[in-house]
């Protein structure tokens, strides 16, 4: 796909948001029909209750849904979608409500379909290395159900204790270990999907023809609603070794990352936190990272015993060479959990050191890590906005946390500007505006910075193939609402970058 990867116009000035459409009350008739389908206690229409669903994990976009429904079965979801289609009412699917891009932001003029009651693990097939789960099943519960047989579900977003598998499919969630094990897309074998016309279909990875499952996973709920997911189970590694290395500076930590990857080691995870995020994690979960560290690196190796042992020694040496002043090696699962606890709670923990913050998600080539971090530092110093950095260092996925005080007038706007400027940096260095949190409603405005009109039109044509009426999670991913009937790509003259770059 073509890209505008070179010399983009800065995003930083742009802070306008996609406002929800004006609140047109939904026809009472729809509420009545949904109550007939599901029973009155599965349909929420009380305004006070509805408002508790106004946002997901990202709270700076809010919109109270017109109706919330809590179905128990795929058939019910299909029936709800058919009702919505017949009434021309948009609908949005929501799992546990932990998304960080507003992908499940409700529509005031629509129905929010919440899958949190669909949480049965339907089948565990150990010889076949797969499990079949409903969309509301919590990510970690899959692992809990199969760990006794020596297996686990590999995608491990930091919110794995509560995020749903359905949400993981929609967002193609990653996690600390996706460097070695890949994203959700690599662990989903098939999905039962309710299509926007209310049919229940099966999309499978091994079917002939186009890889529709590949299109569906990560489409952020814009192509249909998954109602049953067959996931791949991964064998628990024979051994796991985890170390925590403390460095004086983030640059030294970055050099260690480059040295490790450069040496051909593929760690299961390689994570970095800076001083500010260490301070937050310490305040929240007392993870007791080495005091005075400017950065800590968590490196986890897993696999066959001899291979891990050899590589672990190498990693330790490379960390010391890069200037690690303290290295801790987890002796058992309890110590490993403590090392990870600090990292996994880092986002929410920042709430301890700042009244409010923005979790940013961007990608850069790993090799430019030191330059980009220095630029982020400079941005922070210029603007006086504090930025804590947490990242999946192995694949260059940054999670800067932009701190502000929401009680201070203008602070949120300044934070938004810094947050946007960080994405500018990512694009400028040949990266991407999101690594794993998705575009949702939050980043749709940045899409034109990364993609040309032709790119976006092409994506829109795919979407129209699934959802010609544009009722399935509309207003997400794409910067401006378009209708499927519109002629794509009306513009004057050829695009300046057309055919020049194929970076993505």
């Amino acid at each position: 796909m073509g890209s505008k990867g070179f010399a983009p116009e800065p995003i930083s000035g742009i802070v306008e948001k996609v406002e929800p459409l004006p609140n047109e009350p939904l026809p009472d008739e729809l509420g009545r029909r949904l109550a007939e389908l599901l029973g009155a206690d599965r349909v929420v229409t009380d305004p006070v209750r509805l408002r508790t669903y106004e946002c997901d994990g990202l709270t700076n976009h809010r919109s109270t849904p017109g109706i919330v429904v809590l179905p128990d079965t795929a058939e019910q979801i299909a029936a709800i979608v058919r009702e919505c289609a017949a009434a021309g009412v948009p609908y949005v699917a929501r799992g546990s409500g932990t998304g960080l891009s507003g992908g499940a932001l409700p529509r005031a003029d629509g129905v929010l379909i919440v899958t949190s009651r669909m949480r049965r693990i339907l089948e565990v097939d150990i010889p076949g290395q797969r499990a079949v789960v409903e969309p509301g099943v919590i990510n970690l519960d899959v692992t809990r159900a199969v760990r006794q047989y020596g297996y686990y579900f590999a995608p491990d977003p930091s919110s794995q204790q509560i995020c749903s598998v359905g949400g993981n499919v929609a967002e193609n969630s990653g996690g600390a270990h996706c460097l070695k094990y890949g994203f959700t897309a690599h662990h989903v074998l098939s999905c039962e999907v309710v299509t926007p016309d209310g049919e229940i279909v099966e999309l499978s990875a091994d079917g002939p023809g186009y890889d529709l499952l590949g299109v569906f996973v990560g489409a952020e709920g814009t192509l249909g609603i998954t109602t049953k997911i067959t996931v791949r189970l991964t064998r628990l590694p024979e051994t796991v070794q985890t170390l925590l290395a403390a460095f004086e500076s983030i640059e030294a930590g970055g050099a260690a990352v480059s040295a490790i990857i450069g040496a051909g080691v593929v760690p299961a995870a390689i994570e970095m936190m800076d001083a500010l995020s260490i301070e937050a994690a310490e305040a929240a979960v007392r993870c007791e990272y080495p005091p005075g560290a400017g950065a800590v690196l968590i490196v986890e190796l897993d696999g066959p015993e001899p291979e891990v042992a050899a590589q672990f020694a190498q990693v330790e040496r490379l960390c010391r060479d890069a200037g690690a002043f303290e290295i801790r090696i987890a002796a058992d699962d309890a110590e490993r959990t403590l090392i990870w606890k600090g990292r996994k709670s880092a986002f929410a923990a920042v709430g301890r050191i700042s009244p409010a913050y923005i979790v940013q998600d961007g990608v850069i080539p790993r090799t430019v890590l030191p330059q980009v971090l220095a630029r982020i530092d400079a941005l922070s110093a210029e603007s006086g906005v504090r930025v804590a950095n947490v990242f999946h260092a192995g694949d260059g996925n940054l999670h800067p946390l932009v701190l502000f005080d929401d009680a201070e007038p203008g602070a949120e706007q300044r934070a938004e500007e810094v947050s946007g400027a960080i994405l500018d940096l990512c694009i400028e260095h040949g990266g991407s505006i999101t690594g794993e949190h998705g575009v949702g409603v939050d980043k749709s405005r940045y899409m034109p910075r990364m993609f040309t009109e032709a790119d976006l039109d092409t994506m829109q044509m795919v979407r129209c193939g699934f959802d010609p009426a544009g009722l399935c999670n509309p207003g997400k991913v794409f910067p401006t609402p378009r209708l499927c009937g519109e002629v794509p790509g009306v513009r004057k003259g050829p695009h300046p970058y057309e055919g020049k770059a194929d970076l993505f």
């Binding site: 209750r49 508790t52 949190s116 929410a348 709430g351």
Partner: protein, 428 residues
């Protein structure tokens, strides 16, 4: 509790991450946002922003068990315990309840915090249990029709035996290591008198002079956890006075200990009492917590029995006491401690919850019973009378009755070299 303008500030700590959801008992039951801590905090915010308490809103606050599992799981340090207590007090002040609700609540709050009234009930209750009327009433379902809350009360009452009366002072065995006050509690004292006797004996055997003031009343836990703040403050003041002369107050009931550790906040705005409340809070210790600090001296005799240890929410989540009781049990020779799956999820007892929300409480009790049953243990150990009654009832309903004991009773049996049978024959 103290300054009301704290509420908006405390609400601001929530970042809406959702990490609390999987440990919330009502979220695990119903999967609905408004019955999760995150959703309830959102409702509190709506109220602060001017939305009046509607029946719908209050229903979700009432459905909260106050188990504080969310406080444990929150990475942002949200003080949900304070939030729900303040909100409950606001609800009691601002929201009119139905006549039936008021009647049931009055009955509970006029009965349970008062030892004499509970004692007066013991005779008729024993007669009722022995006469066969109990079986008849349960079969007929008549109480369910009158009021599910009264039916729950009836089901939960433990089989009653004789009550040994405790002396005001129990002398230390051997050289004295400490002088401690002991809270005898209301429900603990009247329905589980053996627990208090065991607590006093263990403390004495470990070298403590135990002071059990006669005049002591209710600590106010039930009132405090139900939003009846003024009533709770009265109980708190009386308890503070009662124990002012001792250095440590040992509490064997998790709910009471947690309330007494909250006196500091409860009376913070009362200049005449804030300092005294502070002192009481500082010297309150859970039974297991105190023994862990004191260190073992008395010899433990073997007690060959398999026990399942249940974390009472007001011990584990509210007081952070998890490792101490386990360590005490594990130090007894030949005693096998089993862990119960999903230990962080409440059993549904939660103070008065099983009386006011009997359906949800029974469902949570059933879930807990399945997990307790799966341990294969012979004996259930819990440090709160409500939990013991709740889980024993649920296991009986499941057809898998189990003996229950307090941590103090287990230690007592070991220190006195009793056979496990003394504990096992008391199937609830």
């Amino acid at each position: 509790m103290s300054a009301q303008d704290d509420l908006p500030k405390l609400l601001g700590d929530c970042v809406h991450c959702g990490f609390c959801l999987p440990t919330c008992p009502t979220y695990t039951l119903w999967g609905e946002e408004m019955d999760s801590p995150r959703g309830r905090i959102h409702l509190m915010q709506q109220h602060v922003d001017g939305e009046p308490f509607s029946d719908a809103m209050v229903q979700h606050f009432d459905a909260c068990l106050g188990c504080m599992a969310c406080v444990t799981s929150c990475p942002s340090g949200v003080q949900y315990d304070r939030l729900i207590e303040m909100t409950r007090a606001d609800v009691e002040r601002e929201h009119p309840r139905s006549l039936k609700e008021r009647a049931i609540r009055e009955m509970v709050f006029q009965l349970f915090p008062y030892k004499r009234r509970l004692r007066a009930l013991r005779g008729p209750l024993r007669a009722y249990q022995k006469s066969g009327l109990e079986r008849l009433v349960r079969r007929s379902g008549v109480l369910e029709r009158i009021s599910p809350s009264i039916a729950a009360m009836e089901r939960l009452a433990p089989p009653l035996g004789r009550t040994p009366r405790l002396p005001e002072r129990v002398a230390a065995r051997g050289e004295r290591r400490a002088t401690v006050g002991m809270l005898s509690g209301c429900v603990q004292g009247e329905f589980f008198p053996g627990v208090n006797a065991a607590t006093a004996r263990v403390l004495a055997l470990e070298g403590c002079d135990v002071v059990i003031p006669k005049g002591q009343g209710c600590c106010g836990a039930l009132s405090l956890h139900s939003g009846r703040e003024d009533e709770a403050r009265d109980f708190a003041r009386r308890t503070i006075e009662t124990f002012e002369s001792v250095d440590v107050v040992v509490v064997n009931s998790a709910g009471c200990g947690s309330a007494m550790k909250d006196y500091r906040a409860l009376l913070a705005d009362d200049p005449a009492w804030s300092r005294r409340a502070d002192a009481l809070t500082a010297k309150t210790r859970d039974f297991a917590e105190f023994l862990a600090e004191l260190g073992p001296r008395a010899e433990r005799a073997p007690l060959p029995v398999t026990v399942a240890y249940h974390d009472a929410c007001h011990l584990a989540h509210a007081q952070g006491v998890r490792s101490q009781p386990r360590a005490l049990l594990a130090a007894i020779p030949e005693l096998d401690v089993r862990e119960i799956a999903d230990p962080e999820i409440c059993c549904g007892s939660a103070g008065t919850y099983n009386l006011f929300q009997p359906e949800a409480a029974a469902e949570l009790g059933d879930r807990k019973a399945v997990n307790v049953d799966a341990t294969g243990a012979e004996l259930l150990v819990a440090a709160n009378p409500g939990c013991s009654m709740q889980i024993a009832t649920a296991l009986r309903r499941r057809g898998a009755p189990i003996a229950v004991a307090h941590t103090a009773e287990i230690l007592d049996a070991s220190l006195r070299g009793l056979s496990p049978d003394t504990l096992l024959t008391r199937v609830a």
